[in-house]
């Protein structure tokens, strides 16, 4: 019996890896065709990507990018596990980073108090912004997709309004740029200097902790079990004693709190202020990465690294005379393929397991002496 269990397990693992692998391979094929169509040599492009992507300065750049993307992926994945589509991660993290930057600019306390305060403030802002969508869904039945999209726009408008000289912004660099008051250097997060390769953001440590917490809470706690139950079947969850509404609101808040962290590597490790050049759209990147990583903490990490790698290397391709739009093509195809591949693999897996169980039981029935050996 044990053998079969192991085999099923191994098979499930194999199937789990098959989908993203399939998607990436399909994306490579499509990319090859696209590059061929533009009359250039895809082989050179790929070899350039690999050599450039694995250079040590690229590695640091990719890790820094991936830190941000990983947090975004986890924020989205929390919603996904609940069957909630939190498109609002984008607005949540931008508003959170903005408010946290304002707070960080005016704080005059030592760094070891200021940094935690800034981080908590960001998480609270993100959580509150997400809570609006959660409460609307629970009390009025408003789809979280619609409300979070609108909240994204509202966040943009709110930031635009407040980020003006005389309000919460101030003029910088001879009047060309408006930003929040820069953080004092005592409030910078620690970073690791890797020499010529560049500076590694210390926030990567926080990202790892978030990943561990995500894995532990979902897989090992009662709360996580309830959350997954609601995601798999609302009716079964209600019958088993989970308050579905409370769970929806709670997970929206948690998703928003994690979303609040997304802007922190940039704010605390790099820009130290919020201005119009603060990266935007990472919430949507998070959706792609969560899909690619199957909401799995390790999967999301791999997805985040892949995304960072693609961005770094395709930027470089531009200098080699290739079109930089190739990045969009690769990423788009990967996401599209991932969605299709998962569904195909999931159905195949279910069907296969059913057949296996059927065959196993038929074999047991045929040999009645072994029938009771089910454990």
């Amino acid at each position: 019996m044990n053998k079969l269990t192991q085999r099923l397990d191994k098979e499930r693992l194999l199937l789990g890896i098959a989908a993203p692998l399939l998607a990436v391979v399909a994306a490579l094929v499509v990319t090859t065709l696209v590059i061929l169509a533009t009359g250039k040599n895809p082989g050179d492009a790929f070899s350039d990507m690999v050599t450039y992507g694995f250079a040590s300065d690229s590695q640091v750049y990719i890790l820094n990018k991936a830190t941000t993307y990983y947090l975004a992926g986890v924020a989205v994945a929390i919603g996904f596990r609940m069957n909630l589509f939190n498109i609002g991660v984008d607005g949540q993290y931008r508003l959170a980073a903005f408010i946290a930057a304002v707070l960080g600019g005016v704080l005059t306390v030592p760094g070891w108090i200021a940094i935690p305060l800034i981080i908590v403030c960001a998480m609270a802002t993100g959580a509150l912004w997400a809570a609006i969508a959660g409460v609307l869904k629970v009390t009025r039945g408003v789809s979280e997709v619609i409300s979070t999209i609108m909240l994204n726009s509202i966040a943009t408008a709110v930031i635009g309004y407040l980020l003006q000289p005389g309000k919460l912004g101030e003029l910088q660099q001879g009047g060309t740029l408006v930003s929040t008051k820069p953080l004092p250097s005592s409030s910078y997060f620690f970073s690791i200097d890797t020499g010529p390769a560049g500076v590694l953001d210390g926030f990567i440590v926080v990202a790892v902790i978030v990943g561990l917490a995500y894995w532990f809470v979902l897989g090992r706690t009662r709360f996580g079990f309830d959350l997954r139950t609601v995601g798999q079947s609302e009716s079964a969850a209600a019958a088993s004693g989970v308050s579905v509404k409370k769970m929806v609101a709670t997970s929206m808040v948690i998703s928003g709190a994690v979303a609040g962290l997304i802007g922190m590597p940039t704010l605390l490790n790099e820009s130290h202020q919020y201005d119009n050049s603060f990266p935007s759209g990472i919430g949507f990147t998070g959706i792609a990465i969560a899909l690619l990583g199957r909401n799995n903490p390790v999967g999301i990490a791999l997805g985040a690294l892949l995304w960072g790698f693609l961005e770094r290397t395709t930027n470089h391709l531009e200098f080699q005379g290739y079109d930089k739009e190739i990045l969009g093509v690769i990423q788009g195809v990967i996401v599209l393929c991932v969605v299709i591949a998962y569904e195909v693999v999931r159905r195949y897996g279910l069907k296969r397991q059913q057949q296996r169980v059927g065959a196993e039981l038929a074999a047991q029935a045929a040999a009645p002496t072994k029938k009771q050996e089910v454990a």
Binding site: R220, G224, S233, A236, G241, Q354, L361
Partner: protein, 468 residues
């Protein structure tokens, strides 16, 4: 069945219709060959008329107007179906809806009818009427494939019986020369179980008291409908209270109100001396209510989760599943192994998903799970629906055994034999009210059936005083 109707492709083997070997790629092919299927769950649009439902998807045959109506009347008359084309489907009862389904199939020119568990939702009188219809169809030269778990019905209606067990044909018999016992033995491979409880274990300690439960629901048209009307009942320790009734008369809502999934408008629920009217579902479960839901796929299982996670479902706050706020996965898995062993869940292991088990084994897992937390009260809604005879007997045994240990059981079932055989007290539910009660020792399914249609109320024949 799915293969015959073209919904699934066979790996091997052939289908021959009227001497001609055929391959069905989809239900359309099957319909073209004159095969029609009446599903267990009706596929009718409530807000359309019978005529509209029948022509839906078959507009090309006879149009959607007078010609279609004439054809419907013709078929209806020829087979004695007694279908009125211009009535809205929502106004029809279950039996009438079923006749509409049959007519739909005939309208599309079917010569072979597949009926999947057609009697599950009917009362005995309606079953007789259906059988009369089937005999008419047969007399007109049509072929009927009748799929059922109920042996008596198969024996009374069929000309030839094929028994399928675990995906293989185990025998084909003539009903004239077969008894239901022999048939059942073919089905299980062992002797026939009966749902009879031996000696009474009823005590006079009330365990569950429901008093004046009232529930209304506003439907889409803004009309307020009374779902539960002044429901009062008491179940004592060691007592099985059976509720008979045609489905949709408020049984599901009653169960959900007792479980705390629905909030009643008025009334109280008391469990073992504690008022739990306001308690959330989880508290009720923790205080000792076991729940076998009527729809195991929707309410009882996480189909894509492994068995051991399904073992945790509903009891996540209790040992052995968790300690403090943390899951105890090791203990939960070990206990799943125990349930699989003790309740004879046929599975290659506890890592397989719940979806890959057969219905009977899924149900055994649920029963095992609910029995593993020392329930004081077990709410069993259709505990043996869609379950093979062997598993049925096992489930009955478990209920009986727990009853001897002082368990109170609220049993809701459409299987009247099961109700009469297991219950100590019987109540009949009709349109949200408990309209009649009966003594299971003397009542017959026919008598119960007439109360289920609202024809008889009050105390049924020979009924003893009911403890209200």
């Amino acid at each position: 069945m799915k293969i015959l109707y073209g919904m699934q492709q066979p790996d091997e083997g052939t289908i021959t219709v009227a001497g001609e070997q055929v391959v069905f790629h989809n239900p359309g092919d099957a319909i073209a060959r004159g095969i029609g299927m009446v599903h267990q769950h009706f596929m009718l649009a409530d807000n359309l008329t019978v005529l509209e439902n029948v022509v839906l998807g078959a507009e090309k045959l006879y149009g959607i107007g007078g010609r279609a109506r004439a054809k419907i009347n013709e078929i209806s008359g020829a087979y004695g179906l007694n279908v009125r084309p211009d009535v809205l489907v929502e106004e029809l009862g279950v039996a009438d809806r079923q006749r509409v389904e049959i007519l739909k199939v005939l309208y599309r020119g079917a010569r072979t009818l597949i009926l999947d568990e057609p009697t599950a939702v009917l009362v005995p009188q309606e079953v007789d009427a259906l059988f009369a219809n089937l005999r008419d169809l047969k007399a007109e030269g049509l072929t009927v494939i009748f799929i059922s778990h109920k042996l008596g019905e198969v024996l009374s209606v069929a000309d030839e019986i094929t028994v399928i067990r675990r995906g293989t044909t185990v025998g084909t018999v003539e009903p004239k020369s077969t008894t239901s016992r022999q048939l059942a033995e073919l089905m299980v491979g062992s002797e026939l179980p009966t749902p009879e409880t031996e000696e009474s274990t009823v005590t006079d300690v009330p365990l569950l008291t429901v008093d004046g439960l009232h529930l209304t629901q506003t439907d889409l048209d803004g009309v307020e409908r009374i779902i539960l009307d002044e429901i009062s009942l008491t179940i004592h320790k060691g007592e099985v209270l059976g509720i008979a009734g045609v489905e949709g008369n408020g049984q599901s809502e009653l169960v959900e109100a007792i479980m705390g999934i629905r909030k009643p408008d008025a009334g109280t629920v008391t469990l073992d001396g504690t008022d739990i009217t306001q308690a959330p579902t989880r508290d009720r479960r923790e205080s000792g209510i076991g729940y076998i839901p009527e729809d195991r796929h929707r309410h009882g299982l996480l189909l894509e989760a492994p068995l051991w996670e399904n073992r945790i479902l509903g009891h996540v706050t209790e040992r052995p599943n968790s300690r403090g706020g943390l899951l105890d996965i090791k203990a939960a898995r070990a206990d799943t192994e125990r349930i699989v062993r003790d309740y004879d869940v046929r599975t290659p292991g506890i890592e397989v998903t719940a979806a890959s088990l057969s219905g009977g084994n899924q149900q055994k897992l649920i029963v095992g799970r609910e029995m593993s937390h020392d329930p004081k009260l077990l709410i069993a809604a259709h505990p043996t629906r869609g379950v093979d005879v062997g598993a049925q007997a096992a489930i009955w045994d478990h209920i009986r055994e727990a009853r001897r240990a002082g368990l109170a059981v609220l049993l809701i079932s459409a299987d009247l034999d099961e109700l009469i055989g297991l219950s100590d007290t019987l109540r009949v539910m009709y349109r949200g009210r408990l309209v009649a009660d009966a003594d299971p020792a003397t009542i017959t399914p026919e008598e119960l059936g007439s109360a289920m249609t609202g024809a008889a109320t009050g105390r049924l024949e020979h009924a003893e005083d009911d403890e209200r």
